[in-house]
């Protein structure tokens, strides 16, 4: 299949709370010292899904798209080193501070410029804004169906069979291609790029497109957001912890049990 995977570069979502800072006036996260940005953790899983589908099929092509600053090239390189064939970087100052809805429009325009695909794979959400709307949006703009939160995906004749995660269980669905599918963490570990592949990836092409190349310059820019960011801040958490002491683990356990009883919690 001709598959397009969308990958986003984000601040490391495992940044400890103590290193996480916000510039409230600029309504922006201040990059944490010494913590490099990473690929949104679900996105390599989407790349993995693409590679496995084509491996099972014995052919096909995987193109990776990322919209972001110049450093987002690293997110594309990572997917290429996993085995994807080509990359497209959407980078332009017109993309600064756009919302997820504009991002969906830009990604859909890029997919159309690439001539479409049999399947577009994405992550279930980008772990910066935690929205989870771009897959649905790209599907809507392209006029194709969307299946979210996939934990397994396989070809079934001319259609795709997808097992997806529900709040209280799982669901198996069938959808015709072309389609957009978003991948959830239950999909499992993505492969780790090997040195040889990292070297091969250096030779793969990464095209660079601007908003004008996509014909959407007029819709981009923070002024055209449909979701306005009014404020961004770090919520305050107070610590009032009482550490339960004791000479032995057993005594600590007893003291905790007594405290819990006194507080009518057990």
């Amino acid at each position: 299949m001709n598959i397009i995977v969308c990958v986003k570069q984000i601040p490391d979502p495992e940044t400890p709370a103590s290193s996480f800072k916000v510039d409230e006036a600029a309504k922006k996260v201040i990059p944490a010292q010494g913590i490099a940005p990473v690929v949104n953790p679900y996105d390599p899983q989407a790349t993995e899904a693409a590679l496995r589908l084509n491996e099972a099929d014995g052919g096909g092509k995987v193109t990776v798209i990322s919209l972001g600053p110049d450093t987002a090239r690293d997110a594309i390189k990572h997917a290429l080193a996993m085995g994807a064939d080509e990359g497209v970087l959407l980078t332009d100052s017109a993309f600064d501070d756009i919302d997820n809805f504009q991002t969906a429009a830009a990604l859909a325009a890029a997919i159309q410029k690439l001539g479409g695909a049999d399947l577009v794979l994405m992550g279930r959400a980008a772990a910066d804004w935690d929205m989870g709307v771009v897959p649905s949006g790209v599907a809507q703009i392209l006029g194709v169906p969307c299946v979210t939160l996939a934990k397994a995906i396989e070809k079934s004749g001319s259609a795709l069979k997808v097992e997806r995660v529900l709040d209280d269980g799982f669901q198996t669905v069938e959808v015709n291609t072309p389609a957009v599918v978003s991948i959830s963490n239950e999909f499992g570990e993505p492969r780790y790029p090997q040195l040889r592949q990292i070297m091969l990836a250096a030779k793969k092409t990464v095209q660079i497109w601007s908003a004008a190349d996509l014909g959407i310059a007029g819709e981009m820019g923070a002024a055209n957001r449909v979701l306005t960011l009014d404020a961004l801040y770090v919520p305050k958490v107070e610590s009032n912890v009482e550490i339960i002491e004791g000479d032995s683990p057993e005594e600590k356990a007893r003291n905790l049990a007594l405290k819990l009883r006194a507080a009518k919690l057990v």
């Binding site: 809507q140 404020a231 356990a253």
Partner: protein, 320 residues
């Protein structure tokens, strides 16, 4: 016209808890001048009447069987019909399997925005303003909407429902609109749940990666059973295959707010906290005194859980 449309949900013929919570949020907005509250639910008029008793001014039962599978394709025309009937310019959904898909589908259909997983909403001059967590729970974002309708999905347990009052009155109607799903549901499997549902449990005992192996969950279940609670897990523990994903607590798992949450060998990453920070009393058992979970807890024991948990079980049994 202005007003709020709530997309209520039912499970096995009864209203799901999120429906009352959504109506709680909608009544707050109505009180702030956002107009009247209309609730839409797939199912019978009896369910719609129940929504009136929970605070809706009007309720619509969507009778089309295609809605049962919960596909956005089927639901969008039903919501469109409800919007034209009610004139709503604010739509509230739950951050549930349905809302996660339907919220964005509606937003892109109507060329507007959806704010996902909101923890607070308010009406400011009739306009929706929403607060949501971002960056895995490390940050809060306040957002507003350029276009209409304004759409928000609401995080579970963020709002209290009203006490049902059969004396409330309101118009109940039925619609039959539904779209044709392009996604065909072949099978739906419910997660095996033994005992109390984790979302409803007054006590949750949860374990993390620090447990070191799957078998330790037996000990946690014993403690949970003793306290008539449920057992949960961090995503790290679920991803390792130690516990079912349906019991995962956090941003991408369940939201719980029990009276007592006992976190055993869980560090307290922001994404985990996003699912349990509303717990009334947090207890941490952790080797590391600097763990975030310890900082947010009421009581903590700094110790190897293997030495503490069995003793704690015995001590609680002794208390009778």
């Amino acid at each position: 016209m202005a007003g709020i449309l709530v997309i209520a949900e039912a499970q096995e013929g009864a209203l799901a808890p999120i429906s009352a919570e959504l109506l709680g949020a909608a009544r707050k907005l109505a009180g702030e001048g956002a107009g009247t509250v209309t609730a839409l639910v797939a199912g019978s008029e009896a369910l719609a009447k129940e929504l009136i008793s929970l605070g809706a001014d009007a309720a619509i039962a969507a009778s089309n069987a295609a809605l049962a599978d919960g596909t956005a394709d089927a639901w969008v025309p039903a919501v469109e019909a409800a919007i034209s009937q009610s004139g709503a310019d604010i739509i509230l959904l739950g951050q549930t399997s349905l809302g996660r898909d339907l919220g964005p589908a509606l937003a892109f259909k109507f060329n507007t925005a959806v704010a996902m997983d909101c923890v607070e909403v308010k009406a400011d001059g009739g306009k929706l303003k929403a607060t949501r967590s971002a960056y895995g729970g490390n940050a809060r974002a306040e957002v507003s909407f350029k276009n209409s309708p304004a759409i928000a999905t609401i995080k579970a347990k963020s709002f209290d429902g009203l006490a049902p009052d059969a004396g409330r009155s309101g118009a109940v109607s039925t619609i039959d609109a539904a779209g044709t799903p392009r996604v065909k549901v072949l099978a739906t499997t419910k997660a095996e749940s033994t005992g109390v549902r984790i979302e409803d449990a007054p006590v949750v005992v949860a374990g993390g990666r620090g447990l070191g192996d799957q078998s330790a969950f037996g000990m946690l279940e014993e403690l949970a059973n003793l306290l008539k609670g449920a057992t949960g897990a961090s995503r790290a523990a679920c991803d390792l295959g130690w516990y079912p994903p349906s019991q995962q607590v956090g941003l991408t798992g369940k939201t719980v707010s029990p009276n007592l949450y006992i976190a055993i060998a869980i560090s307290g990453a922001s994404q985990h906290m996003a699912g349990m920070a509303g717990s009334k009393n947090i207890i941490a058992i952790n080797k590391d005194a600097d763990a975030n979970m310890v900082k947010v807890s009421k009581f903590a024991i700094i110790e190897d859980y293997k030495k503490v948990v069995p003793a704690l079980i015995e001590e609680i049994k002794k208390l009778g």
